[in-house]
Amino acid sequence: MVITALALAGWVMAASAPGPGGDAPSPPLPDTLPLSGRAVIERLTFPPLVFEPPVALEYEVGGVRVYHLHDPALPLVDLFVQLRGGVGHFPRREMAPITALPSLVRTGGTRELAPDSVDLRLDLLAAQLSVGSGGGGSFATLNALTTTFDESLALFREILLEPGFDREAVEVWRGQELERVRRREDDPGGLAYSEFNRLLFGDHPVGWVTTESDLAPELFTDERLRELHSRLFCRERIQIGVSGDLTWAEVEPRIRSFLAEWPSCSAPLPDPVHPQLREGPGVYILDKEVEQTTIILAQPGGLRQEDSEEYFASRIANHLLGASGFSSRLMTRIRSERGLAYGASSIWTTPARWEGLVGAVTSTRSDRTVETLSLILEILNDFRAAPPPEAEVERALEEIAMGWVFAFESAAQIVARRMSYRAQELPDNWLERYLEGIGEVTPGAVHSVVRERLRPAEMTILLVGDARQFGPGLEAFGPVYRMHPDGRIEPWERDPHPLRR
């Protein structure tokens, strides 16, 4: 992590800003307090916070980028291998095998070791090892005691590079996924997110919903799995992070050995497909007899994660609208003032490679569905109607600036963040640039991005709940459709199943 003097100075200034009572010097507090609450809090001042954030250093070993941060506090070492490329680069028929790959690398043994032997060795080394996928790629992590790190690393390398793809492990994975498919309608919240992605993203990896035919046994042949492995678990796709109880002098030869036989990629990956997001208003009802309706609504936001005034303004707008917990507009009005929901938050995604979504999500009792949806739209329209008060924006800036210190709580977190920037093709100084960019956001900039990008009237609305309880009025939000759990959509018939009891 590189923090420039400017950004750090800004952060220290923010961190040492006066408390709620302003910047007037306060008299010392007596030993015991006759007062409490606001009178005391307004008199508090705070000392400056002096902190030199640890920096993860970047190296190159055998052509692979490696990030390292030494932290000897505990006798543990974390190793993080990030592999770029995943489901998004492949056609639909490869979705399930690509999704399975990390799990099968972990559970399918190695060419030399049966799955049982791998598990036994990991247990006796007390090593924690995981292989998974996310963020458009795959990852593998190892957390080991310093004393057993070498043996753990050797086993880690063998697992990642020489997978056994044991047939029993493949069948266990398939069986578990088939069961997940059977159970996807059990959890209304999970079902809602899955169906909303299908609605908005359509035939795109984000919108794909796994079905039984995706899990056909012939898609998981040993040959196919090995081919996919050779395209993803290869040298050109990886970067490595190491944190914990080893110095770079100790890490470097170990990583060099770890990478020695790491093969080159067998073939390049095609570019990921960009989604064609659904546009235009519509109310989609997935009728399910539950006591609470999950409400999700959004439209394409048109913004990416990038160094632009509009992007930074969108981050503050999101904070104010529904990403800052209790104090956000959605939580204050839906939960605190009306008691309509336990949680309510905004959606304002800004992926690095394509434009994201903007909208909101909550859950409410079935018979308050229309009322809650109306309130959300009212909050969104209010947000568009006028610039936020300066104090509201100022509060958001303070929250972000003051909380920045939590970005440095662990060495593993610092290393992972730097790797993440690289994977998203963001500059190495993105952290400081982000802070600077956020610090320059004004109420006018927030209003401008909200007016431009937040369009409640064009939102796709999904309701997963008991339609008989919703009551009348949904037609006001756009054409109403029935959505089936298999993705079929048809106009909502008024009879025999009206939107009222």
Binding site: G19, P20, F46, V50, F326
Partner: protein, 506 residues
Amino acid sequence: MTTFARRLTCLIVACAGFCTLPAPGSAQPPTLTLGAPELPVREVRLENGMHFLLLPRAGAPTVAFVAHVPVGSVNEALGSTGIAHFLEHLLFKGSTTIGTSNVDAEREVFRTMDAAHDSLIRARGRLPFPDSSEIPRFTERIRILEDSARQWVIPNEYDAILSRNGARGLNATTSWEATEYYVELPSNRIELWFALESDRMRNPVFREFYTERDVVAEERRARVESSPGGLLYESFLGAAFRAHPYGVLPIGHMDDITALSRREVDSWYRRYYGPNNVTVAMVGDFDPDSAAAMAERYFGSIPAGETPPPLLIREPEQRGERRVELVHDAEPELLIGWKVPSGYHDDAFTLAMLANILVGGRDSRLFRRLVRDDRIAASVTAGTTPSGRYPGLFTIQAVPLAPHSVEAVETVIHEELARLLADPPTPLEIERVRVGLEAARVRRLTSSLGLAFQLVESHSFWGDWQTTFLTQERMQRVDSNALVEAVRRYFVEENRTVAILRREGS
């Protein structure tokens, strides 16, 4: 970071070196003689009985705070279930000066509002039928009054003050036996925590009361009514515990939640939230001398509260298997529980070890048999529930893999438990768990917030902060004979409760 971790390192290194890769099945498990880590915890006990555990550690300039009150749903009476959890929500609403511009005006409206609520409760409880004409009238009256009181409310000001000072993770949790309030702050802001926390201890105001009650009702709909697992667990506990309050979820029954009064909550607060009943842990980058002085300055003058009454009720001995079935729009699930002693009993460590032997990893007995070999379940978990102070349940939960039935899964679980008697855990099975426990002794020290929870919970449960760090050591001493004896003693049919979730018509 501090030297305590390095001291622990020496102990770990010795064990880890010893334990690494013994010849399978050949080595006698090592005898371990580890103690609690030498954490430099400073204890401060104020005259009013409030207890502070202060653990400075270097690193990022942040401090984690956990305030622990040993009161939860086990302390509730029928008719008032959910009150401990509801109070937890209300304590974020501010005080006589935070969250309000005119507390006196608010209180005036509270009186009228609460009188309307008393009338509403009478209308709801009227026999032989609720008074359906009066219920909406009083409900609307309460809503109008609460809205009128909102003119003086500064919404979520407690949260806003902390957030603009960099707070992270502000939240609270209520279980059967404890309510815990936690947050992390930049190190230079610790005095803000003392000022705010002492203020809400002295002067809480339960504003936005009826609106927040609706929020809790929504929380219950999300966690229980809309969740197959939540519904099954509620049925399971209700069947297993007929007298002890472990039989009710901490969120409470819906009809109780929606009838709780401000008067009841106030009385609950006064009974259980005296400083003498609160333990605070601070872990992070701070000066313990300053923190101790702030503890005295901010909390020292708060008078001690009532001594909470002990919980005397004990679950009567179970005299036969209980089975309960839940019909719901979801795929089947299975829960089996056996009555076991509290967390204070020596067997608690044996049972924790047993859970690891059964489901702790891909080669554990139940995972191997159900998920890998027979492939009749998608997952299986086990552990002691619902909490630890009173006798509870050793619970096994499994998700059948279609087309296999819950009955088939249950049969295999019973077979595997019986096999523990005929084919006791081998030294290697035990060794695998012991090595993992050893590493867990280090891993549990990584997070400041995690450490703060461990300190207060150990202090509350064991009476000191150290004992929690000995639990893994006690588990490591469990041998095969103890495991077999525990299975023989507890895993019997008469002591068993089985809950099954079925889809209607299946």
